[in-house]
Symmetry: C3
Subunit: 280 residues, 3 copies
């Protein structure tokens, strides 16, 4: 049985890097379907790579093989690994924190270190800067095509020794939930928080209610105003702000047909805090 | 028989949205080929989405299923529909004007509203902002793979009640044709008008003849000069302007190896008028 | 046997041009796999197109058909050709220098001019500006699918009459090698030179040694400093410069996690000279 190979990187599509990876994979098997997750991860942004995997893995079938190459440490001693998730999908990646979100939200049940003696594109030994092509795409394709089994990737590693980025959980206090702005819905400038719908709903808020939103970074308060909790952008006027449930079932903030991120110069990451408060 | 699924949106490729759509489609059928039209439709630009469909549908086979998601009204009462064209292709889209150009130039013979009770990704009910993934990609893939027939999409709607953008026809008067600048050949800055080659040739102009071009918007005259009607950019010097027949058989204006749009700050849409005049 | 079709152009992905090419190819054969090399070749940059082919062809299987459309002379008398390389791959392209790098580094053993009477999309005769769709994608797909044999492309041409860009070889003198900066690793701002690893190593330099790098263009000296020859970016501190062997086995210059090209305003092409000097 042939499984899909889904590639992600911070390489962009401007040069031949992604094509070289696909060529290697297609050389391994002419029948595995090869897809892209995104190749526009900001350079070296492991957090974004980790998030984009979480955003998508649930929509692909069991046994799909993902290859993620955001690899600032290429050529260092960092390991190359393959993880098997609780949903029986595989992720091929440098061991640098790329698995943070999937580990927290989906769960990983086994990790193996890639044995480069066996699982490396033949005759690629002289280059030390493109493991995405020579190791990850090659190994991912062989796994997707059934040329090797997961057990043949290399020896098992301890999951608790896997590299992980700091992961923040939101906190509820009285009529208020505090979280972080994890990432943007880039094209539309919407803010995606780490506050789940379930936790938010425990505040006892309904569609159409007004909430108070405060956004701060480590330096100052950036935004404070009230807005409606709506089912979608269509619940409000064009140009108005809205709190809504995003496509990953987390709370998000948008300006209908505008960019909230640009309007208020909002960034992402652990220093960008957001508080949602019920107004009584 | 498996048919191609061709996806278009204003989502960009920077995040995981398009990958999630492809994952849903691939989950429906592991063998339908999935392609992209473009995902760089400017955000909420229904006109551009409509135009890019017209630009491409004719080059894909009968029974191809297109999914177009430019959807500023997601979550509102706007319908989700599937259109069957006169060439027996299908287009899955919100009913918001995306079908304007195909309806005018190719023709649509039947429209059905998507019955979301049946044709919606299972367990996707809590999110109201990503119908592209939960309804359109899912339904498009099921149609392409033959899991459902067109008749099973939902009940038939009246074509005359379909949402349409205002569509302007060019006008001929004496030795002159007036039209609009519909869209740009983005990468090269060429202007694509709504004036067909056939209508233009009725002025009695031949390759090598000189014409006068005037461009105005609602505020002022933006350009007025004469240029050659050439077979292609190669008919003129580098840096010179040329009137030519574009790849959709409409009249277009370019600077050879330069950008006419940038050179003269030209925009697109119904307020951008162009006049081509025969010089006697 | 079905072979892959790999498309490259300077069209970008913002409009429907690439989709139209894929539609034409898919119409020829519903089973050939269609991939992209890159469509972000800078407009009219034949040198970059030539380089991106060299960067990737070696990773794709024998009999793969590449289509490259960087075509400032579309509609002129320039020929349309198909080349067969020494590795039995095919490249469909305008005869304008796009084959320079592959000819120099891989070798071309036969060239045929496309006979447009036979090998042109039916009913596409009125447009003279989109040979990428009407001739190249169509012919490439027919070749990949086995609808036509290489001999049926058209009559054979002399390889020595093929258009070629000036190709510079690096020069060694005493303890120094001089070359040019051929292209950038765009996303990361690394400089890729035309100096091979083999030639460089003949200087007797080992990992960890310090070399002197000088970069000049035709006007002035742009950079002169010493840096380490490292296995990869991980050999040095973040923010430090490094000389390394790139993924094509040529010498390259980078700033670890920074952009050397932006830091020092470096361009590419024959007027951008680089000298690597052994320090004794």
């Amino acid at each position: 049985m042939m499984n899909a190979l889904v590639l992600q990187s911070d390489f962009g599509l401007e040069d031949g890097a992604v094509s070289a990876m696909k060529g290697v994979a297609h050389n391994v098997s002419k029948v595995i379907p090869i897809y892209d997750n995104t190749h526009d991860i900001p350079p070296f942004d492991i957090w974004a790579g980790s998030y984009r995997l979480l955003q998508t893995v649930g929509y692909w079938p069991e046994h799909t093989v993902f290859v993620s190459v955001v690899d600032p440490g290429v050529g260092s001693e960092r390991k190359s690994i393959v993880a098997k998730t609780n949903n029986n999908q595989y992720i091929v990646t440098p061991d640098n924190g790329t698995l943070t979100h999937v580990h927290q939200k989906v769960g990983i049940k086994e990790i193996r270190e890639i044995d480069e003696e066996v699982n490396r594109l033949p005759k690629s030994g002289a280059s030390h800067t493109f493991h995405g092509r020579d190791i990850y795409a090659y190994t991912g394709a062989r796994l997707a095509a059934g040329v090797i089994k997961f057990e043949e990737v290399g020896h098992e590693c301890k999951i608790e020794e896997m590299a992980q980025l700091t992961f923040y959980d939101p906190k509820k206090q009285d009529n208020m939930i505090s979280g972080t702005i994890d990432i943007l819905d880039v094209r539309f400038g919407n803010l995606w928080t780490n506050i789940s719908r379930e936790l938010f709903l425990s505040l006892g808020i309904n569609y159409g209610d007004t909430v108070e939103i405060e956004i701060t970074n480590d330096i100052r308060r950036v935004y404070r105003n009230s807005m409606t909790f709506g089912r979608s952008f269509a619940s409000i006027q064009i140009g108005e702000g809205v709190l809504y449930v995003n496509s990953l079932d987390n709370m998000a903030v948008a300006i209908n047909q505008g960019s909230f991120a640009k309007a208020h110069n909002i960034g992402t990451g652990p220093s960008w805090h957001i508080t949602i408060k019920r107004i009584d």
